[in-house]
Symmetry: C2
Subunit: 453 residues, 2 copies
């Protein structure tokens, strides 16, 4: 008697369309898979990765061989090829990562709120999976395993689209994962491979609930501009460190150094150093020397270049994510000018003020619009693991759903469960309406048993 | 020394573009306006609406006069013209609504989490406004006041685009609101009026953080398809009531009646009634009589029509939001078939099961993918006020950010504040790395004072 789910098109489905529809169907079952089954599957995946290491490394060698040809042709960098390469020890750490995801607290089935609307009418807000995640990610083959593990832990079906450079590695890893996760509803993870498949993915707002693109800012913006599916992503990390008039300058030097040099390739590294004019002459020369010794190229505004030797910054420098040992430097008149500069040029990622004056910290932290605002700490702390969120999904520079470092909670939504015994809205409406109670209480949802019984 | 914020275009800004940029700038100040100033402004707005009632009613009369011409020409319905019409008592209830928004708990500045990453390194997750809301709403002039009030309460700047039918009323209300809210950063609310302005609004992803369209499903879908800004909206309300084999049939009759008849024009009214085959013969004839007496037109599948007299349902009926006294009726083989029907045809809004068996309720509530799932209660309870969320922003059928009835919390996001005393990531990395503590604690953020001092 029942019709199959409506599909978005009357034409025959392509292979990719079928995969997405299968994920949509699997998501409904996966949503209610108990915690033990999900965790057991994660452990089985970790074990299978270790057991099949030879097969994985063989496929990976084929990818690396192809990549090396393109390296010779000058199309790839050595760093790119290195990131692609797997090894026995790398596989062990990938397996460990999957086990650590299994060990995380369950993000599902939490009672977020419980409220008695009236005697015998109880509302529960429960955490549930989002549904189907559409992910597009970079060439590192560990990305596929990580994304699949986080999706499974959070009860979401997932469409996986990796880079073509890692095609062989991804295919083998995907097969191993699906085979190991036997108790998980079939079709929960789907691998798509061709570039055209991405366009198909972006069109499926009937089936895909959240897109998580990883890659260049340009790619994330392309995704945002070409889909009506919500996107959880991160465009740019143009982070600032502001050295206030009342900074402890020795602390400021250490923090500004750590924020740039400790790992410059990542999004939470500082890209622009702002220095209050009253401390610039004392602070900048020594700071510039220390940066220079570490190989950091400085690009300053006029006032900074009067104080220390550096190249001239152009307008473009204030909005550039270098991801490298390059730093823009600007001297500002005031705390307010620093806040204005950050709000005009920053990417709402992470901003840090160095000051010993609480009022200055407060003004900066309240005034700056960013996911993470720090006082006397390196911008590099903006990270899911360091924040104690456990496994990190990524860092979002959007302002809705999930912001900043995103943990497993960012892969959940909620569902309202209302337990009644036949209540009608008519009873609570119009003349002589029965009033609502609206009384919060501690309690867990238990179907069919109202809490006071 | 400081440059003005980068704008999205090098061409001269149009009037609408300037307004949006002004809202963006006001949002930064508005974000930190204290609770008392926001509430005082809301009370001033309520008072001003009462004080200027004559002016408002005069402007409204002009709108109504225009609308009546179009009513005569057959372009508008009487109901449409009635919704547009204000009165002295309607204005009083609008003013009361604004005061009740003022009386709501402050959604801002809540400490959602506090975690000690290490001694002297404390992370706080605080609720903050989203920034700039872009709203497009229907012709009822009270919508403008309600949206402006909710935005102000939640510290968000707002772009207001009302229907052209209410242009005069909206203009006067907007001016009264701006004049009354004198302590609020200028430019926090912006009125845009032309249809072309909507296209400009949808393009401004550099300035607008969340779009909240209200209106037809087609319009909400148009917005989703033509912007990269996140959209909080609600497409359709195709809600179901399922009468299980183990339902209390007298309760089921009352609930199914309330869900359709108590107010059929709204999104949480039921559109399809599903009945288990084992109770269909006992339940449907009386139910059909009761519906017919209330003027409900029934459209059934083959099995339903064998039991009670009704028109034949077409495929389209299973996915139609009638918003009227029309109801589709289907007899299903099993609980599982009911769940499958809802997941294939529903709009993820609100679904209700009538049953005395807890296991059946659990299976249905877990298995159905919808924002609200009810057991033995009318779908009409899916509403922000009834749920105890206070002021309602709307109902979202999306799965991310905010789902179901959305209160003021749905207009907030969060910001991470990290308080340190000079910590470097280098200390916590590599060989001999200092471990993290990651210890949750109860505490409020206080800038510059670490909690253990």
């Amino acid at each position: 008697m029942d019709r199959p789910p409506t599909t978005f098109s009357q034409q025959p489905m392509t292979d990719t369309e079928t995969k997405i529809t299968q994920a949509q169907s699997a998501a409904l079952d996966l949503a209610n898979l108990d915690e033990k089954t999900r965790n057991d599957a994660l452990h089985a995946i970790a074990d299978a990765i270790e057991a099949h290491s030879e097969e994985i490394l063989e496929a990976n060698a084929a990818d690396v061989e192809e990549a090396e040809k393109l390296l010779e042709a000058g199309e790839y960098t050595q760093a790119f090829v290195d990131r692609l390469k797997l090894s026995e020890s790398k596989l062990e750490s990938i397996a460990e990562m999957v086990r650590s995801v299994a060990g995380q607290e369950d993000p599902l089935g939490k009672t977020l709120e419980a409220r008695r609307l009236d005697e015998g009418l109880e509302l529960y807000k429960l955490s549930v999976p989002i549904g189907v995640l559409g992910t597009v990610f970079e060439s590192r083959p560990d990305a596929l395993v990580q994304i699949a593990a986080l999706s499974l832990k959070s009860g979401n079906a997932v469409i996986l689209k990796g880079g073509s450079e890692a095609a062989e590695s991804n295919r083998v890893l995907y097969e191993i994962i699906c085979e190991a996760a036997q108790e998980v509803p079939e079709g929960w993870a789907q691998l798509i491979e061709a570039r055209e498949d991405v366009a198909t993915l972006l069109e499926r707002d009937d089936a895909v609930d959240l897109l998580m693109p990883r890659g260049s800012s340009a790619f994330v913006e392309y995704v945002q501009d070409n889909t009506s599916i919500p996107v959880l992503g991160h465009t740019e990390g143009v982070c600032h460190v502001y050295v206030d008039a009342d900074a402890d300058l020795s602390m400021a030097e250490d923090v500004a150094f750590d924020a740039k040099v400790q790992y410059p390739a990542v999004c939470n590294a500082v890209e622009t150093l702002l220095v209050h004019e009253s401390v610039a002459e004392e602070f900048l020369p020594a700071m510039a020397d220390r940066y220079r010794e570490a190989g950091v190229e400085l690009r300053g505004d006029e006032r900074a270049r009067e104080i220390a030797e550096m190249d001239a910054a152009t307008d473009e420098d204030w909005t550039t994510e270098y991801g490298d040992l390059v730093l823009a430097v600007k001297v500002v008149d005031s705390l307010e000018a620093a806040i204005r500069h950050v709000n005009a040029h920053g990417s709402k990622h992470t901003e840090s003020i160095l000051t010993e004056t609480a009022e200055h910290a407060e003004k900066f932290m309240r005034g700056v619009d960013a996911a993470s605002v720090f006082h006397n700490a390196s911008t590099r702390f903006a990270d899911g693991y360091r924040f104690g969120l456990g496994a990190e999904v990524g860092i979002s520079t959007g302002k809705t759903h999930a912001r900043g470092p995103v943990g497993l909670d960012g892969l959940t939504t909620y569902k309202y469960h209302l337990e009644g015994d036949g209540q009608l809205v008519a009873t609570y409406s119009g003349e002589g309406a029965r009033p609502y109670l609206h009384e919060d209480f501690d309690g867990e949802w238990a179907p069919g048993r109202l809490s006071e019984e």
